[in-house]
Amino acid sequence: MLKDIAVSNSPHISKPLSTRAVMVDVVIGLVPAMAAAGYYFRVRALILPAACVISSLAAEWLCNLIRKKPGSLGDFSAVVTGIILALSLPPALPVWTAVIGSAFSIAIGKMVFGGLGANIFNPAMVGRTFLTASFGMLMTTWMVPATIPAALSEICPENNVEARTQATPLAWSKQAIKDENGALIYNEQQFRATLTGEVGGCLGETSVIALLIGGLYLLLRRTINFHIPLAVLLSAFVFAAVFYLVDSDAYMQPFFHLSSGGMLLCAFFIATDPVTAPLTRRGMWLFGIGVGAITMLIRIVGGYPEGVMYSVLLMNAVTPLIDRLCRRIPAGGKPS
């Protein structure tokens, strides 16, 4: 009897959980945001994610082929990268640009480092940075949500609903710092619009409610820890509040900054990418605080209206350092 019993290290059982399951969970968490995008930007919300996902998968497959490595499409991480990139793109972006961007994300953002787990930077943000640098015009051309009737052109002065383009709230806030009319622009109506997502902005970043639902799902499933999202949002809030308290005419309310732009997508889905975030709790706090603060620094002081992608990349770069600084002390204290 018993010819083929296996011998290996303990433990001999393992939790039925795989990398793929973790990634699928993230995709599920992104579904509300994708649905909201579909509602406001109609067919664009189908084309862009599809193009990004297919291009990501193709790029990963090709890279594996070149590196003569076993296929890794099954872990679904390329799908997650594709969707996140698509959701952070302007809805009007031409498909070919999105295809280039996601191929770049995977090839340069992930595979050159050695594939999943070895990359230093968040692949989706690498791709987005590349697109911003290469196609600046296209990356700042915004679309008015399909649900806004043409008659409502008075929402904001420079809106051109006829041409169906609209500046994002973040662009107004940048302008407001110059004009000192922040309070004028950000009113209750605008606040409600950002909650539902009926404003201009990136495909999946506009609807606060959808992002919160998705984020909550990931938190409840324990796919992400609360440390990074909380740290990002808290530090951004505090940063914005300080400016707001100093000069409430020029600067927007802190809540404005939390609810607009890529802040929520970043807090729940981008900064929490485990591969590029620190491992320890203290490290996560530091990382999140850094992401929130740098984003706000760029938004308020820097030259761009949005700072999420640069702040994530910057903090990614210091993640190894954070990990080294924030070591865990054994439960029994340091051995003497």
Partner: protein, 459 residues
Amino acid sequence: MRFVTKGRFSFRGGVHPPEKKELTRDSEIQPGPAVKQVAIMLSQHIGAVCESLVNKGDSVKAGQKIGDSDAFVSAPVHSSVNGKVKQIALQSHAVLGRSMAVIIDAEGDDNPASQPSHTEFTDSFDIDSYSSAQICTAVRDAGIVGMGGAGFPTRVKIEPNPRMPKETLIIDACECEPYITCDYRIMLEWTKQIIAGTRLARKASGCSQVFIGIEDNKPNAIEMISRTLEDCGDGDRIKLAPVKTKYPQGGERQLIKAILRKNVPAGGIPPMIGVVVLNVATAAAIAEAVVSGTPLTHRVVTVTGEAISKPGNYYAAIGTTVEDLIEFCGGVTESCAKVVLGGPMMGIAIADLKTPITKTCGAITVLTKRQIGRAKYEGRQTPCIRCGRCLEICPENLNPTKIAHAVKHNLLDVALAYYINACMECGCCSYVCPANIEVTGYIKTGKIFLARQKKKMPE
């Protein structure tokens, strides 16, 4: 109030693997197989290996001492059957690979392993008739070692040591490993004996307080022990501490943390903070050794797992081979994929079914492919996604992935900087890893490398 913790306290981290205790939870302790041959390992404990006291061809009696050592940290071994020494030879050993064993052919028919009778622990038991020194000597002579797994000689643990005075005795009745129920059955069936053993151990060690730590998934055992404690004179000093059901709650460091809210220094041992931890089965053995002078030649073994036809708890002779025990339980089913000495989290997978059981072996778990998990069975490991799950559950608050990857890339100094030696090898990190990385395996390998390195280095 006898209940001190009400199951709220625990340690940080840990996992909840499927308990699987239902396979054998209700099966009473049965006599084990009447074996034809036993192989008594000369090393069944931590410490010096015993010298054989018998020669080939000698006749031995059950309970006769057949191996001993002069070293302080060691414990003698005894024959578990009447018979004749066939030879003294190398035999597969679960922990050491191969080690010397006295192989004895059983003779006569008074060899079936019958359980001790328990009346002596109830009616005539009088704690005052034993002195501390007497108890220690009896424990040493009976060859008692920690029966929970580590196998540290019990006498060394309980003997008063002026440099490290002992204050608290904790009886570890958690049995947090999945599948295993031998301690649970002992608690239900040998309750009085356990209490007697606990009182003897308390007396020998001079501890002022005693806790019995039980996971709160064993309400029957808690009830049974608390009732028995009420009937016994020393009961006030022995407190029952139900603790949260979580693996590895039965690890001594974790149990101390849960009950006393104290940390044992990393790399240190419980006596450093005045605590002695004994397994329940050890307590039972102490009672037997002191009261009836019986050496440790038999123990309760849970033979379990989905691939065993008739799982159960058996009172088996030490030295019985795994094969004999499995056959006694009706053999294994088709789907058998792994035979593990011990439980699935910390047990040792064996390749040679002729491996004899030792004093520390509480269970034989035979797992199927399904229980192991496909990816794990095939050894498919994917890259670490740094998800942090292993950090979160590590009961020793380490950074398992960092240590494992340092070992993988042969950076032993990095592994040391991340406190590789504080790892208790509980296996939680491998258990939770979604990438299915053998984190614990790497860490164990790293420890072996470090030990070798140390040996080679000049003084």
